[in-house]
Subunit: 353 residues, 2 copies
Amino acid sequence: MDPRIEKHARIIVDYSTKVREGDNLLITYSDFGKPLAIEVYKLAASKGASPLIITTPTEAVRGYFEVTPERFLEVFPQHYYELVKASDVVVSIRGEETTRYLSTTEPEKISQRSRTTKPISDEYLEKRWCLTQYPSPSYAQEAEMSLHEYEDFTYSAVLRNWEQEAHAMKRLKDVLDAGKEVRIVGERTDLSLAIEGRVAVISDGTQNLPGGEVYTSPLEDSAQGEVYFDVPSVAYGKEVRDIWLRFEDGEIADSSAGKNEDLLKTMIETDSGSKRLGELGIGTNRGIDRYTRNILFDEKMAETIHLAIGRAFKNCKGVNESSIHWDMIKRLVPGEIRVDGHVIQKDGRFTWE
Amino acid sequence: MDPRIEKHARIIVDYSTKVREGDNLLITYSDFGKPLAIEVYKLAASKGASPLIITTPTEAVRGYFEVTPERFLEVFPQHYYELVKASDVVVSIRGEETTRYLSTTEPEKISQRSRTTKPISDEYLEKRWCLTQYPSPSYAQEAEMSLHEYEDFTYSAVLRNWEQEAHAMKRLKDVLDAGKEVRIVGERTDLSLAIEGRVAVISDGTQNLPGGEVYTSPLEDSAQGEVYFDVPSVAYGKEVRDIWLRFEDGEIADSSAGKNEDLLKTMIETDSGSKRLGELGIGTNRGIDRYTRNILFDEKMAETIHLAIGRAFKNCKGVNESSIHWDMIKRLVPGEIRVDGHVIQKDGRFTWE
């Protein structure tokens, strides 16, 4: 076995979820990820926790949507709910055999099912939870890498000294918490956002693993100026390239894209909240040096910022409501982040680094 | 996919457990068996049930026993209990990557853990449950077959017309229920057993799949005579061959074996109940034509009977108590089964066939 799998499990159990005696631990994976699930299982058991593994093969999920009559999409899986309710820790391992397994499933069915099972997802978030990645062939393919290279990539992002990373991110959080205005300057980009009264949150590897971003929710009326996202973005399985947005008083006044512009415009028009920003995130994970079409990694990439249109975060004191939350990523090399007029990052380096 | 997997799933869902709208269905497998689990999942979903798959990889179980400090063997997995409690149907699929995965684990640890999790196993038995087999390479190897041959073997045992099988077994049950004494005559064998007042039970494919036996618990003081088991028997992973037992007033008075005789004698001496019979079973499954070192199949083999020393069955009104229940199988070609002096089976054929 790749010894990095055991190191990954150690971070999940010891650091991210701090498994201890008596914990009821739930581990979930889809197709790949069994070796990591087993290592987490064993480590948790050695500490006196009770591990249990749920698997939801992607073919079971796809088949479910194919064969289930519409009226049964509202059937609530009570036993699953009871299981999650009685759990203390949930570890979710991503590793679908193909990331496109729902590409021919009607989106309305997926939404309907999500609404039915929302009490379960809500219950999940009440636990000590960790969402992480197993380096599967499908994700390597999305990343345009060999599996070997993708394993290296995954572990360089995940196997970090998270206490140290968290310490470094704290510096950025303090600056944002004390600041009133953020300005992003770069190629075809000069955007101002108000952040006064909002709270910056550190993604320190305890919930998202890899972590590596500091994010907040800007004031929903404040965005002013233009921004160009050089990193491709994905919505409903389709790639949207070269997104450019111009904001006036928080709202998108103009937009364009080099590929799938129609989809961009449709997304923006989803509801009133989807015309405004819900998130500003600043990536800090230097183990992530390229875009791999996986938002769990992409938004953490060092030397980038990302903005999401739509739903804001309650834990940042954000208020913007929307049924969507769509992340768009921009490299800031060359570029600058300024807070209240002071440059805090220039060409990808924080001034205190 | 092998189309027989879908047929197997249909028997499980439609016949064995009769899955219906609103059922909370739990599916479990260890290493192999995922394709069958997925088919059961989809079929159950199509009927408006809620399926959920638990996987317990054998390496997780082995590792659990290796790394878990002894005091933690008493930690109760409350979330697992709540899950089973809230389930209506449990389908367990066997298919370990090696059937010997616990061969170096201390048996006391396994017993201790079984005692801790007994409320969960008890809860299982309260449900509509089905225990079945996925034809994995490890079981093919035990059976001394190629995987291809073993798949044919498995499906010839499982994919039967179970209504018809049950009807045929009912005939045998009626004879046993009305009978007072059973006499087994064959090679080195002439054994009498009293069965008056006991209830014969049909294994009709609803719980064990394959089914195919009619069993009862003989009166514990009644066994008289000798019996020779030509089919090898397995205890604690060791094969015991050519077992011969002589009974006096229900108790084993003499015994021998051609291989691992010591183990036989030790097993017999386990406790007071292990010197007496707990079960007489008559195999009826004509899809099972050979011994494969898998008791789920072996005891159902047509043209055989089996006797178990130790624990009797409550549902047969049996009373013998023991911590063991060890099945030993005998081919009855040539041979006879007589009930109250009437031959009911001769050289493997029932007189009414």
